[in-house]
Symmetry: C2
Subunit: 448 residues, 2 copies
C-alpha cells in the first residue's frame, strides 16, 4: 500500500504509470466514418499549414477582429448580469448564486435577453421559450440535424460552396447533405427545386435546406428579398424546413438598407433560426442559440424536442458564459449591432481595402483573375486560372509568405478547385496591401 494523495484518504496500491497506457492501438477503420471524411479533416490540415508558416500573412483565418477585446471587461459583464438578475428579475442573493454556479435550465438563462436582441436588431418577435441557448452555434446545428435525422433516407440541402461546419455536423449524425448551386445571389431556388425532385426520385426524404442569406461563409453572397420569399414558398410546397444561419448580418457595408431575415418573412413557421455571438461578441464564450418555434403535434414546440437532445449532449450551456454574454448584451441595450459597431467598422474598412487592392493588382483588361464584391461580411472569393489546392497553398505560404483558404473544401470536393477564399477580418489595411502584393507575386508565378 503506497500513499499517493495528500489531504484525504490513502489510495490503495501503487498505481502503474499511466504513460505506459499507450499500449493499446486503435485503427481509424474501427471508428466512425466521419473521422476520415474531408469535412472533419480538412480544417486540421489547413491549420497545420498555417502553424508551419507562422510569419506568413494570413487571409485564411475566419476569426473576428480582436483589437477591442479587454480582459477587464469580463468581470464587469458578470457583474452587470448579476445586477440584472437581482434588480430586474428580482432574484434573491441565493438564487443569483444558484443561477451562476448550479446546473441550469437546459434551454438557457439569457433567453429573455436574446428575445430582446432579436426584436431590436432583426425586428423579430420570438417567445423566449422557443429559444435554446447552445454551446456555440455549432451545437445548435447538431441539435436540429440530430432531431431531423430519423433514418438513412433523410436528406438536407446546402449551397455549394457552404460552411464546412454544417457539412461536418451532418456527418456526425449520419445525415446526407446534397449540394445546391449557388449564384451571385446565394443559393439558387431553381436548383433547390430540381435537387429536391431528384432526391425524391432517389427514394430520399428531403427535410431541410441550410442557408446563410447574409454575407455567406465562404462566398460572401447576400440573398435578395425576392429569393428569400421564393425559398419560403418552396419550403412550404415541399414540406421542408429552412435552417437560417445568421452570424454576419451586422457586418453590412453600412450603406442604406439590408434585407430582412428569412425568419422575419416566415408566416408559415418554416424557418429554424441559428444565432451566434462569436462574431458580434466574442468566440471564447461559445454562446449560440436556435429559435425553433414550430409546433409539435404531440405537444410543445420543436425547441422542447431540441432540449431533450441537448440534455444528453451538454446538459446545459455554461451559465458563466451565458452570464458574460448576458452582461455584454445589457451594456449595449441588447443590440448586437451596437455591441459590434467598432468591429463592423474595421470589417468595412478592411473590405474596402481588399476590394480596392484587388482592383489595383488584378483589374487590368488582360487579367485572368476575378472576384466577387460582397456588400459586407468577412470574405471575398477569388477565381484564378490555376488549381488552388493544398499543394498550391503550401507553395504560396513557403515561397511567398501568404495564406488563404482553398475553396474546394466548401464544395465537399465537388467544385471550386480554382477558387480561394480571402478573409480580411483580422488584418490592418497595411497588412492587406502587403498580403495582396505577395498574392499577386504568387499568382504571377503560377500563371507565367
Amino acid at each position: 500500500m503506497t500513499p499517493v494523495t495528500g489531504p484525504g484518504a490513502t489510495v490503495l496500491d501503487a498505481p502503474a504509470p499511466a504513460a505506459a497506457a499507450a499500449g493499446h492501438v486503435l485503427h481509424t477503420g474501427e471508428l466512425h466514418y466521419s473521422l476520415t471524411d474531408p469535412a472533419l479533416t480538412s480544417m486540421t490540415l489547413l491549420s497545420e499549414i498555417a502553424v508551419r508558416h507562422p510569419d506568413a500573412l494570413s487571409f485564411a483565418a475566419g476569426l473576428p477582429f480582436e483589437g477591442h477585446y479587454e480582459t477587464s471587461a469580463l468581470p464587469r459583464y458578470l457583474e452587470t448580469y448579476t445586477r440584472h438578475l437581482s434588480q430586474e428579475r428580482g432574484l434573491t442573493p441565493e438564487q443569483v448564486t444558484r443561477t451562476l454556479f448550479q446546473y441550469g435550465p437546459t434551454k438557457g438563462i439569457i433567453n429573455d435577453l436574446l428575445a430582446r436582441h432579436l426584436m431590436i436588431d432583426e425586428g423579430l418577435t420570438v417567445d423566449p421559450d422557443a429559444i435554446v441557448v447552445t454551446s456555440g452555434c455549432q451545437e445548435a446545428m447538431i441539435l436540429v440535424l440530430r432531431a431531423l435525422r430519423r433514418d438513412a433516407r433523410d436528406v438536407v440541402f446546402a449551397a455549394a460552396p457552404t460552411y464546412v461546419g454544417f457539412t461536418g455536423a451532418s456527418r456526425l449524425v449520419d445525415m446526407t447533405v446534397r449540394q445546391v448551386r449557388e449564384t451571385a445571389h446565394g443559393l439558387d431556388p431553381d436548383d433547390l427545386e430540381a435537387q429536391i425532385r431528384m432526391a425524391r426520385a432517389d427514394g430520399l426524404n428531403p427535410r431541410a435546406c441550410y442557408v446563410i442569406p447574409d454575407f455567406a461563409n465562404p462566398s460572401g453572397a447576400t440573398m435578395p428579398v425576392d429569393v428569400r420569399r421564393r425559398l419560403l414558398r418552396i419550403a412550404e410546397e415541399e414540406g421542408i424546413l429552412l435552417l437560417e444561419d445568421n452570424p454576419y448580418s451586422m457586418f453590412h457595408d453600412g450603406g442604406g438598407t439590408r434585407p430582412p431575415t428569412i425568419k422575419s418573412l416566415d408566416a408559415a413557421g418554416r424557418v429554424v433560426y441559428f444565432g451566434s455571438f462569436s462574431k458580434t461578441a466574442f468566440p471564447g464564450a461559445r454562446i449560440g442559440y436556435v429559435v425553433a418555434d414550430q409546433r409539435i403535434a404531440e405537444g410543445g414546440r420543436f425547441a422542447d424536442q431540441l432540449v431533450k437532445i441537448k440534455s444528453m449532449l451538454t446538459l446545459n450551456t455554461s451559465t458563466l458564459a451565458q452570464a458574460a454574454i448576458g452582461g455584454l448584451l445589457i451594456e449595449h441595450g441588447c443590440s448586437t449591432e451596437q455591441a459590434s459597431a467598432r468591429a463592423a467598422e474595421v470589417y468595412r474598412r478592411n473590405g474596402r481595402a481588399l476590394l480596392d487592392g484587388l482592383q489595383e493588382r488584378f483589374g487590368g483588361p488582360d487579367s485572368r483573375v476575378r472576384w466577387n464584391t460582397p456588400t459586407g461580411g468577412m470574405f471575398v472569393v477569388l477565381t484564378v486560372p490555376f488549381r488552388a489546392d493544398e499543394a498550391a497553398l503550401q507553395r504560396s505560404a513557403r515561397d511567398f509568405g501568404v495564406l488563404w483558404t482553398p475553396m474546394y473544401h466548401f464544395y465537399a470536393g465537388a467544385g471550386g478547385l480554382n477558387q480561394l477564399r480571402l478573409s480580411f477580418s483580422v488584418l490592418t489595411p497595411e497588412e492587406i496591401g502587403v498580403g495582396l502584393d505577395r498574392l499577386a507575386a504568387f499568382v504571377a508565378q503560377r500563371t507565367a
Copy 2:
C-alpha cells in the same frame, strides 16, 4: 419599406410577426427515435413532478451542495488564471486576451492544470496532449461513443442500474447498450464476460464497457481493487475499452483508504477516463474532460480523433469557463480533493445522517425495507416491498411531501421497480430527518 433597427442599416420590408411562425406542425414520428426513448424523456417527467411540488423535501436532486458557492469568487478565479497565463506561461497581454476571448484550441487551454490535478489527486501520469477538455463530462461521453459507433453491430456495456446520461448519450449516436448485472461491488465481471459472449453470438461487435467504480450513480456501490484488475484483464482478452467515469471519488467517507482508479492500474492502455468538475468545483462552468491516450495506428492518439468530432460538435470548450475552473484549481494547488473538501464534509455528515435515520425508522426486525451502505458519494438505494414508480412518486409528493427518484429508469426499464434512489447532497441533517419521517409515513401507508 419600414425602418426596423436603430443604429445601422434599415431593414428592408416590414417583417411579418414571427409569432405567427407556429403554423408549421412537426410530428415526433418524423424525428429521431431517441426523442421518444425513456432515456431522454424520463428526467423531464421527474423534474415536472418536482416542479409541481416545490415545497416537498427532495431526496431526488443529484445536485452538488451549493452552500459554499460565492459569486465574488468568479472574477477572482479569472484573475488567478490570467495571472497564471502571464506569469507562469509567459504570455504577453495580447496573448492573454486572445486566450480568453478568441476561438481556442479544440483540445482545451487548461490541459496542463488537469494533468497536475490527475497526478496530485489520483497519482496518474497523463500527457496534457492526451486530454480533451469538454463542455461537461456529458460531451466527453458523446465524443467517445460517436467515435466508437461505426455501424449497427457496435455495442457497449453498462451496469444495470447505470447513469441515465450514459444511456441517453448512446441513444444520440445510435449505439446499442447491453446491461450487465451489478452486485454490491459494482458491475459484475462474470456477467460482463457472459454478456460479451452473448453479444458476439448475436453478431454484435463489443467495443467498450462503461463503469463508475467509485460511489456509482445511482447505486452508490464501490468496486474493490480485485474487481478493477479483473475488468482490465477482461478488456484485454476481449479487445474492448473500459470507459471509467469518476465524478465522485473525492467524496469518500474519509476513513482510511480508497481504491485506485482503474486508469492508474491500466498498463495496457485499455481505459478511457472521464473527469468532471461539476461536483468538485461547480456545474455552471460545464467543464469536464476525457483522457484518451490510446495510440492510433495511422498516427496520433485517440484524443486527436475525439478532437475532430469535437470540432464539429462545439468547436472548443468555452475558454471563459475553462479559465474559471483553471483559476479555481490553481487556488487549490490543482487538487480537487482540496477544492471540494468542505463539500465532501457536508456529504459525509449527510450520508451518516441518512444511514442512521434509515436504521432508526426501518431497522426493526420485521422491516421489509432494505438499503445499501455506500462508503461515500451522494446516493443510497432503498428497496421497498411495493412498486416505486412515477405513480408512487406522485402520491409520495402530493400526500407526504417527499420526493425521491424511481430506480427503474436507471435499468432502462428492465428492473429496479421496487427500488428508489435517495440523494442526500443538498439537504441539512434536520431536513434529512424530516424527509425520512415523511418517507416512513409514505412507506407505512403503502405497506399497510
